[in-house]
């Protein structure tokens, strides 16, 4: 791990929420609001690979899109290198877009079928006016080599239809890397790919970090992939941060009942019946009368029926860099404290 001891934050999210307003339709005046992210606060340190793990609809992709400012936050603030992302305009915004890159889930959709590999990978250089036209081909070659598309000249003038899924995703990574970004968000980059090809992509992401020190946020539904790639992981459930800590620690020693339920559900190369389980998931949901308790309460088998349905648990620290949002962990008092780690609010 290349994290230096200062644990310098490159990215900070402070109480970030995203609410999608319910749309009215022809027959209904207004729909229900969807809380995609609910007051998420976290830090990402320079040089680490940070995993954001959650199921579909958990808000993990929304978080990525907010960070690269493809969407606007409803409330809360996001800082990159201590500058507020949402306040960036003009030249600063352009510089930000050079420093932060995103790799999308589906390489069959994220590449323009009418553009050759060279067009696709060199376009960011043109937009940001980097290098002379004559140098660009060399930079593109370098980027292709770095993602294992070699010899690069074999690929420069191919179109996406002549590339396999794994090769396409590598082109997408090359496009992100050609600008030498500081921070890359990879949103489920392997969910469309076979296992043997996924492993290639994982290893490219690891090399990017180990050789070039590129900080990454890896968005995934797979705890096993997160374990392999990430230094720290955050588990989110329906827009709420449930647990945060060193990857190996969270997986070996999960503290949140939801994380435990996730780990229970992962197939473990053996007939599941033999495996020891945490058993924190209810087979039938609890009824909820009020809408203000822990988001996991309705499905939680170990809930406290007095506290959990009535109050929202904050993150509390339970180990070195290990945080959990659950009243059943640590002291109840600490569960009441709002988010406290990292930098102070409102800087």
């Amino acid at each position: 791990m290349n994290i230096d001891n200062e644990n310098k934050q490159i990215l900070q999210m402070r109480n970030v929420s995203k609410i999608y307003k319910g749309k009215g339709s022809l027959f209904r005046s207004s729909g229900k609001d969807v809380i995609a992210l609910n007051r998420i606060s976290l830090d990402i340190y320079k040089g680490e690979i940070f995993g954001l793990v959650g199921e579909s609809g958990s808000g993990k992709t929304t978080a990525g899109r907010l960070i690269v400012s493809l969407e606007e936050t409803t409330s809360g603030r996001i800082f990159l290198d201590s500058r507020e992302v949402t306040a960036l305009k003009g030249r600063e915004l352009k510089a930000f877009r050079r420093k932060v890159q995103m790799i999308f889930q589906d390489p069959y959709q994220s590449l323009n079928p009418q553009r050759s590999v060279y067009d696709t990978v060199s376009e960011p250089l043109k937009i940001h006016r980097m290098g002379k036209a004559s140098d660009r081909k060399d930079r593109v070659r370098e980027a292709l080599k770095a993602v294992g598309l070699s010899p690069p000249d074999d690929f420069l003038f191919r179109y996406p239809h002549r590339l396999s899924g794994g090769q396409r995703q590598r082109v997408a990574i090359a496009r992100a890397m050609v600008l030498n970004p500081e921070f890359v968000i990879a949103d489920e980059p392997t969910s469309m790919l076979d296992a043997s090809i996924s492993a290639q992509i994982f290893n490219i992401l690891l090399t990017m970090r180990n050789r070039l020190g590129v900080t990454q946020m890896f968005i995934t539904h797979s705890l096993a992939a997160a374990r392999y790639l990430c230094d720290r992981i955050a588990v989110i459930y329906r827009g709420n941060l449930m647990e945060l800590g060193p990857a190996e620690e969270v997986i070996k020693n999960p503290k949140h009942p939801y994380t435990q339920a996730l780990i229970d559900a992962v197939p473990k190369f053996g007939h599941s019946k033999d495996a020891r389980r945490y058993g924190t998931l209810l087979s039938k949901d609890h009824e909820v009368r009020e809408d203000k308790g822990c988001i996991f309460y309705p499905r939680c088998a170990v809930a406290d029926h007095n506290t959990c349905p009535r109050r929202e648990p904050g993150l509390s620290q339970i180990g070195i860099d290990h945080w959990v949002a659950c009243f059943r962990q640590g002291s109840k008092e600490s569960g009441l404290t709002p988010f406290t780690y990292g930098l102070a609010e409102g800087r």
């Binding site: 199921e55 579909s56 296992a195 492993a199 290893n203 797979s222 096993a224 559900a265 190369f269 053996g270």
Partner: protein, 317 residues
């Protein structure tokens, strides 16, 4: 007599670029109440086998050689009428994309009742609907959701409805083609648990098709690993995963991240799968194989019996 025997089957597709040999020389046997996993990456032919078993190959695809024996009868030589009778009643399929397997403009309960009625024309509609209620209980969908449309169901519930439909005519064999691929891990776990329980209760033989070796390891008694249209390794699940014999199985296992055990480096498999219009003369994996010898390129690989039902299609195992 085994429940289902696939004997040296080859399947091909006529394509614009030539005849594509999607499956070649695959044989296996499924016994009652057992599950057999077919695992492999995209394009290895696993779904083609499932479709051939159901007689649902697309018009450009056909079985060129081999036999499929269901309770001793070769279904490949049956008339369409005979095939129609065994489909769903003896052998049913759970499809890959549950969201597309249901008719969006018909209530879920009615759809399943209709499937029952087609195969039992003497039955009253009310009787069929009450059977559907029973099926919903089995797969864990509340009865009041019988009159909902598919779009009102969550992904997991649609998958349960598709399983209910597969069970509707009490089949002896179910072919489950990636039944949980689109689902979240918690829902996947619940559905797989359901499938296991139903299998035990009705003594169904299941062919479980998946690209995910961890699911197959959890679900199946026996595993067949497929690569480029061929079965390359076959055996009891524990043996195949604990002492894999074929270099492809070994490579597949070491490219797969796991939650348990030591965190070791993932080793991707270099290269690409061969073109199946002109497959290589020798072993199909030899270009990507770390253990390949000169003769692997030229000699077709042979089955090697390793013992206790474990075998591999590799001269070096």
């Amino acid at each position: 007599m085994p429940l289902l025997e696939v004997d040296n089957i080859s399947i091909g597709y006529h394509t614009r670029n030539g005849y594509l040999k999607a499956v070649e020389g695959v044989s296996f046997v499924l016994e009652e109440g057992q599950s057999l996993g077919l695992v492999g990456e995209s394009g290895c032919g696993k779904t083609t086998i499932g479709m051939a078993l159901m007689g649902l190959l697309p018009p450009n695809g056909s079985v060129s050689t081999g036999r499929i024996l269901l309770e001793g009868k070769n279904i490949l030589v049956m008339s369409d009428e005979e095939k129609r009778r065994i489909r769903w009643r003896k052998m049913a399929m759970i499809f890959q994309a549950a969201m597309n397997a249901l008719n969006p403009v018909q209530r879920v309960g009615n759809q399943i009742a209709e499937a029952i009625l087609v195969h039992n024309p003497s039955l009253e509609k009310e009787a069929a609907l009450s059977q559907v209620e029973g099926l919903f209980d089995l797969v864990g969908i509340p009865r009041e959701r019988l009159t909902d449309y598919p779009h009102q169901y969550s992904g997991g519930m649609k998958q349960r409805a598709v399983i209910a439909m597969a069970l509707a005519c009490h089949p002896k064999v179910i072919i489950a083609d990636e039944p949980t691929t689109a689902l979240d891990v918690i829902v996947q776990d619940q559905i797989l648990e359901e499938v296991r329980a139903l299998q035990r209760e009705f003594n169904i033989g299941i062919i479980f098709i998946s690209h995910d070796i961890s699911i197959v390891a959890d679900m199946c008694h026996e595993i067949g690993v497929m690569y480029a249209g061929q079965l390359v390794e076959f055996g009891p699940w524990r043996t195949v995963f604990e002492s894999p014999a074929h270099p492809y199985t070994k490579a597949l296992l070491s490219s797969f991240p796991t939650l348990t055990g030591k965190k070791s480096d993932l080793v991707p498999i270099p290269g690409e799968t061969p073109n199946l219009i002109n497959p290589p003369a020798g072993c199909r994996f030899c270009d990507r194989c770390p253990e390949a010898q000169a003769f692997c390129k030229t000699t077709p690989s042979q089955w090697v019996d390793i013992g206790s039902g474990h075998k591999a299609l590799c001269c070096r195992s």
